[in-house]
């Protein structure tokens, strides 16, 4: 058993290139270890790697923890951060970990989809930037190569003026999303809708976006159609947490409510 604490990113990348398992906050990996599903023998611990823990305006280092994003992140990402696990989890878990694990229920991921964020992957060979929809490939599957580390999440310059997040779970705190959703709206009406827990990867409801983006002040009929399209576009499954039917329904309800919140803020 070996755990190394690299002094800088280069050391960390060298370790990953050698096949060592990256460990960030531990909130995903250690669950797998504790339940006997994984048993890494050589681990590179990134918790104290300051090189990837900076939070600049559009570049969130992979090592930035949810606790900080809760306070400093853009509105909808901060709202999402607030729902990640518990205070203990938010003190340990990082946005890079969320991106690397790529769970369909990752609370932070719909925001990245909603704003067309990119994921920065770095290896000893260099850095590449992948748009979110090129990066997330399937359930817990990404385009990251084993020799690469997620080093940052890169947001576009200029974020939508309005952005809202919400998440349905059966308990009032510390719960995996049944459905989660981000809606953003620009001053010109351009609207994005991204959802989690309703498809193998975070997804956008493009037809709904297209329909509503042309509506400057959508009325009841447009809002209802928007919700209907979102419900139609999502691809949820039935599992022990919920049913396909409920997830479709909730996705539409959430998207509409968040859009309404954006519109209210727009009006205010």
């Amino acid at each position: 058993m070996e755990v190394i604490h690299p002094r800088d990113l280069d050391e960390a990348l060298a370790a990953v290139a050698e096949g060592m398992t990256p460990l960030a906050g531990g909130t995903d990996l250690m669950v797998e270890v504790n339940y006997g599903h994984k048993r890494p023998e050589r681990v590179v611990a990134l918790r104290r790697l300051t090189d990837i823990a900076d939070f600049e305006s559009t570049r969130i280092g992979a090592g930035v923890r949810w606790r900080r994003i809760e306070r400093e992140g853009p509105r909808a990402l901060a709202q999402a951060a607030r729902t990640v696990g518990s205070p203990q989890i938010r003190n340990a878990g990082t946005i890079g970990g969320n991106v690397a694990t790529a769970s369909p229920a990752g609370d932070g991921l719909p925001f990245l989809a909603a704003v067309d964020a990119s994921v920065e992957l770095t290896s000893t060979g260099g850095t590449r930037l992948l748009r979110w929809d090129d990066y997330f490939v399937g359930v817990k599957q990404t385009a990251r190569r084993p020799d690469e580390l997620v080093t940052a999440v890169v947001l576009p310059d200029g974020l939508p003026e309005r952005q809202e997040f919400a998440k349905v779970g059966v308990r009032n705190a510390m719960v995996i999303a049944t459905v989660c959703c981000v809606v953003t709206r620009w001053d010109d009406g351009t609207t994005t809708v991204a959802l989690g827990s309703v498809a193998p990867t975070p997804m956008r409801a493009r037809r709904a976006e297209e329909m509503i983006s042309s509506e400057r002040s959508p009325g009841e009929a447009a809002l209802a159609e928007f919700a209907r399209l979102v419900s139609e576009e999502v691809q949820p499954i039935t599992d022990h947490r919920s049913t396909e039917e409920y997830r479709r329904h909730a996705a539409g309800v959430l998207a509409r409510r968040l859009l309404e919140r954006c519109l209210r803020r727009e009006a205010a």
Partner: protein, 743 residues
Amino acid sequence: MTTRTGRRGAVQGGIGESTLRPDGIPKLRGEFMYAQDMHVDGMLWGATTRSPHPHARIVSIDVAPALAIAGVHAVLTQEDVPGPGHFGLEHPDQPVLAGEVVRYWGEPVAIVAAEDEDTARRAAAAVVVEYEELEPLIDPEQADARDEVFRRMKIRRGDQDARGSVVVEGYYEVGMQDQAPLGTEAGLAVPDGSGGVDLYATSQFVHVDQQQVVAALGLRPEQVRAHPVGIGGAFGAREDVNLHIHLCMLALYTGKPVKMVYHRGESFTGHVHRHPARMWYRHEADEKGRLVRVEAKIVVDGGAYASTTAAVLANACYFAVGPYRCDSVAVDGVGARTNNPPCGAMRGFGAVQACFGYESQMDRLAAELGMDPLELRRRNALATGDRLATTGQLIETPLPVVEVIDSLAAMPLLVDEPESPGDLPGGSGLTTEPHQVRRGIGYALSIKNLGFSEGFDDYAQARVRLTEEGAIVETAAIEVGQGLVNVLAQIARSALGVSRAEVRHVDTSRIDSAGSTSASRQTQLSGGATHKAARRLRERILERYEGDDLDDEGVWRGGLLVVRWGELVEESWEETVTFRHPPTEAPDENGQGKMHADFAVAGHRAVVGVDPELGLVRVLRVDTAQDVGRALNPESIRGQIEGGIMQGVGLAVMEELVLEGGRIRNATFTDYLLPTILDAPDVEAILVEQDGSWGPFGAKGVGEPPTISSTPAVVAAIRNATGKALNRVPVRPQDIALEEVSH
């Protein structure tokens, strides 16, 4: 010579006071010793190989790969079980390790002992078992049709042709709840070097563990000593044997102490659950709302082995009508045997399932009659001197159903406006704004037996002895967290007149059984034994010294201290008492008879906020009135009430083990959701005290009633908010958001 004047006051730390629990500080400092924390030098760690199938024939077991791992001392299978090899709380039908067939998902097939926990777990995983899968029987109604049953109940009382003019029918379901005590199963077995073993394991009833170890392994009773140890909660999950026999086998085989701790995932398969139930009800009433006839069929799924299914089913049937009068009753019950996980005891024990059925029916009846739901209940309220609707048993102890209803009705309805997301459905998920919330209020009442029933010889032994430091109460009764160590000491203080008393746990070789810490029974049973022993001791001492009072200083006569405490305890003073509650009997062929020793009632009023469109619920308040006989420690009772209500709320809106083809899909704390502090309702409680129960100082058991009617009260409140029928708990978001409005 010391003299004193004036009347002696109530003894300090006696009954009625909210004394602080003696184990509070060690628990707060992290110094309290739980079964999980035990350590002896040279001990091995045990682990269990479990079946991945709900039903399969075992073709072969190859232990060689496990034995080949360095540090492994033993890998044992059914062939290595030295005795008859079966156990069970009521019927020994469960193999210590599965032999030819596995009958549920997670059934133990092999056990290992190794030098550390990690090695033990790897070894357990390395045992190669070849299975031939068999079709699992997972539907309890199908089991009923195939006569795969542990027990059938038939209750017939009164005129079977009685008919009412107002009729409501309903079908109800209760999902599989888990006790989920925070401490998982854990234990240590230490061989004594001469063929015997000392067992320190999580338990609610050490004597029955000891008996099952002895019987399963073919040992002599004196060879096995079961010791009470610190445990992290129970709620019924610790009544059955799980790792106990395995630990003793491994310790005796290896000659070394062996420790085993279930991890959470294993715990979900390692202990029994609350029985899922399906219930068909028909209530008939006259125009004034008086119950004329109740018919019910109740099917509970017992899973693969008997455990306490027979008793749980009986309870569900005996309390199928609730705390109401009715003179024409027909109840049929089935305890099905399936290949689902075994079910057994959980707080409320059968009364929980039935209560969801009959209280849902009472609300339907009230709606049908256009009557206030509490008024309907008041009109039918059972009272002392009445007969229980199902069994015909004459109620001889206080039963303040009307008082509970009136207390509830009189409680001010205080609901704060939501101040933060935590007060809204969806909580921090920010799903719901205040204008999207509909408020609902619901009521429910319940009745539960106290102590064991149906002729079971239910007793508890306790010993009180005096030492230099004061009185010691010795018992094998398990402290599960409820405060037994507090209340027994309080009882001893009050009965002796001495303020210094503490409880000490002793093992099965040093005292007779205290019975199980379950059925809300220890305050009455072990409390009764302690009370009697302490009183007798006091009488003997006063008689001996012709005294007229005993206190911390010693024996008094006419205001003079005649024997100082120090002198008094130079002699050995001890008294051991076995306390039995009033005898009960087995039912006749129509389910009639005096099956219960005592009863308690409770009522709940729930207030919920519901987001109907998303189907999310925030339980805001659950107020309660509870029949406690006499409150021996009001703060402890409040703790039982608040905690019990929280478990009832959990069953109402989130707690369910989800099965698929006999497999549990959510055996983790990520997916088996327990309420958090942000889900907790505010609770206001009224303790209804009435003298006359046989418990010490008139006390009744208080542990289970909070969990019984809180569930239907919450569901009634959700129905009130949404107009949905909601015939199943837990109520899921889709049940509210997607189903059609029925009335």
